[in-house]
Symmetry: C2
Subunit: 420 residues, 2 copies
Amino acid sequence: MTTREILLGAREAWPKLSMSTAAARSDALLRMADKLIADADTILSANASDMEAAKGKISDVMLDRLSLTEEGRIRAMAEGIRQVAALDDPVGRAISHVERPNGLVIERVRQPMGVIAIIYESRPNVTADAAALCIKSGNACVLRSGKEAFRSANAIVEAMREGLAEAGLPGALIGLVQDTSRESAKELMTAVGLVDLLIPRGGAGLIRACVEQARVPCIQTGTGICHVYVDRSADQDMALSIIENAKTSRPSVCNAEEVCLVHEAIAREFLPRLRKVLVDDRIAAGQPPVELRLDGRAQAVIEGTPAGDGDFDTEFLDYILAVAVVDGVDQAIEHIARHSTGHSEAIVAEDEAAKVKFAARVDSAAVYLNASTRFTDGGEFGLGCEMGISTQKLHARGPMGLEELTTYKYVVRGAGQVRK
Amino acid sequence: MTTREILLGAREAWPKLSMSTAAARSDALLRMADKLIADADTILSANASDMEAAKGKISDVMLDRLSLTEEGRIRAMAEGIRQVAALDDPVGRAISHVERPNGLVIERVRQPMGVIAIIYESRPNVTADAAALCIKSGNACVLRSGKEAFRSANAIVEAMREGLAEAGLPGALIGLVQDTSRESAKELMTAVGLVDLLIPRGGAGLIRACVEQARVPCIQTGTGICHVYVDRSADQDMALSIIENAKTSRPSVCNAEEVCLVHEAIAREFLPRLRKVLVDDRIAAGQPPVELRLDGRAQAVIEGTPAGDGDFDTEFLDYILAVAVVDGVDQAIEHIARHSTGHSEAIVAEDEAAKVKFAARVDSAAVYLNASTRFTDGGEFGLGCEMGISTQKLHARGPMGLEELTTYKYVVRGAGQVRK
C-alpha cells in the first residue's frame, strides 16, 4: 500500500475507534499485548533479519537498540502495553462546564486528535509503545520506522493488528508506512487534511526537517541541551551528585546534562572537585571519564579541553561536558536563554532568592531546583507513560502523556437560543 | 525599523513583561486605554488619511470597518482594553501539583508564550484588542495590520506605547510591522526562534498562506463553513428561528451558517417554510432575501438556484445558503465530515439519540444541540474576550481567550534527588 492509502485507511477506520468505550480500548490493548507474546517467534525471526542486514552498517550501540534477541524484550513490550491499558482514559472527560445567563450549557470535552503520524528510528519497542498510547487515547496512528528496524516493526504491527481484529476494531487503525525512504517522511509531513498531528521522535536532523518541511500540525520533541547551574550558595556535595547523575547515568538521552555553569565565587573550590568526580574517580573505577570542555575562566582553574565555538550549542549525547564560569544567577539565566533548546535546566542552590529567580525566568519545559535533569520523563513525572518530550510551547510542553495526545471540543446544549 | 529589528526588540523587552506582576499588567492596560482617549485627535486624523486613501479602492463594507470617524469607536476600543484589564490573569497559576514517592514536588505553571505575531486586515480595533490580550497574558506582540489601516494602526500603537512607558514597561512590547507588503507577512511566518506563536486573523487566503509557508508555530483561525442539520424530530419553529439567526443576523462572520441539511422525512413540510422565512418574508419586510442553492433532492420540493459543484465547500459570508436533503443523522454527520472546516455545527432535534450521536461524532470546535452557531465567540462562551477562533486541533480549539495565549512549564522542587 502507498503511504497515502495507509493514511486514508487510518482516517476511515478512526470514527470506529473514536466512538468506542474506554473499556473497549483497554480490552483491545490487552489483546494486542497477548498477540505480541503469541507471535514472539515471528517477531524474533524478523528481528534477526534486521540485525543481519544492519551488521557492519550501524554502530554497536545502535545494533543493541535494534536487537530483540532476548525474548525478555518482547515480554517487556507486552508489559508496557498492559500498563498503558491500565491508565486513566482522558477521552470524553469534561474539562470545563459553564451555564450562561441565556441558559446555554457549554462544556469542553476531551477528544482524540484523529490520525497521529509518528516518525522514529531504530528501536522496535517504539512501535509498540507509540501504537498503544495512540489506541488508548482514541487515535489512529500511522508509524514510520527507521529502515533498519522495518522488518521488526512490520511483525510487531501485524501482531498488534491481530489483537485489534480480535477486539472487533479495524486493523487499519495502526498503519506502518511501507517505504522507509526520506520521501515517505516528507509525505507524512505534508499530508494536510490526513494527519492531525505529527510527532517526530529522533535526532536534531529529523526535528529540523520537520520545522522546515512540515505543513501538518507538528510537535518538536527531544533535543536537549540541558544546563546545571551551581550557585555560590549551593550544597557542593549535592551539586556533584546531581551533575554526576545528570551527565553520566545515561549520556545518550535528551535529558542528560550537556553544560555546567558555575558561580565564580566558588569556582576555585568547586571545579577541582568536579574534575575529580567526573574524570579522576571514574578512571580509577574503570568507568569512562567525562571530557571537560572549558571556557576561559574555567581553564584558569582546572585542566581540560578548551571549549570551541560550538561547544555550548551542542547536544553531545556522550561523555562530554561543557563548563563555564558565570558571575551569578543572572548571567546563568542569560546564558541559558541564549544557548538552551528549552528542554530541562537545573539550579543547585540554598539561597531562596536565587532559586525563585531561576524558576521564574528560565523559559524551558522543566526547571529543577536541587534535582537532576534526568527526571524529565513521563514515568518519573507520574504520567504513567510518554510519547516524547515536547520542547515547543504550543499545545504540550515537556513529557507528553495520554492527555497531550488529545484535543477538546465544545458541546453546547440549548433550547432554541439565538444570538441577539 | 525592519521587521527583524521589531521582532528582536520585542524579544528583548519580553522578560521585563513576563516578570511583571498581574497588577502591573492591569495597570499598564488602564494607562493604554487612557492614552487612546487622550490621543483621540491624532488617531482620528490618521484614520481620516487612511479613509481618504482607501476611497474607491475597497468596498463600502470594508470602508465602514476601517472607519473610526465617530469618536465613539475610540471610546469603545478603550473600554475593550479596560475590560481585558479586569479579567482573571492566568499567568503563574499552578495547573497541576504532584508529590512523587521520591519527594520531588512537580508543578505545572501557566506561562506566557513569549512573542506573539498577529497578521490581520483592515479593522483598526483589532490593533487595540490584540495588543491588550497579549500584554494582559504576559506576551510581547508584533502586529501586522493590513495596508488600508496602517496609519490608524500606527497612531493606536503609538498611544498604547505611551501607556506602557507610563507604567514603566518598554514600548517595544507592542511592535507594528512598518512594511505592509506580502513580504513582511512571510517574514513573520518564517521567523523561527523569534516568533513563539503566529495568529493569522483574516480570510481563507491568509490562512492557506500560513499553512503553506509558516515555519513558526501557528494557529489557524476563523474559516467557518458552518452547518445546521434539521432532524425529523426537530421542533420546526425552533429550527426556523435558529437558521434565520445563524444565516441572517450577521452573514459576514465566520460563525454564520453556510449550509442547511434537512431530514428527508420532513423535507416536504419544512423546506417551503424555510423558503418563506428566508426569502418571501424578508422581501416583504424590505430585508435582503437569502439566495437558496439547492441540491437535487431539495429542488424537487422548492424553487431556488441549483447548487453548483463548490457550493457545499464555500464560505459565502453573504446572504446565500446551500441546502441539501439527507437520509438522516448519519448522512448529515458524514456530509459534515467531508465538507466542514471544523468550526461550528448545530443539530435541531428533540430525539435524544440523534442529539447524542451528533454531539459525539461531529468533529468540530463547537457542536450545538438546539442553538444557533452564532454563539461561537469568546464573549458568548464566558471567556470575557477573544483573540480569534481556532479551527485546528493543536493547542486551542474554538474561541481563544487569555488562557489559550499561554503555555506552561514544569517547576520541579527537590532536595538533591538523582535518578536511579
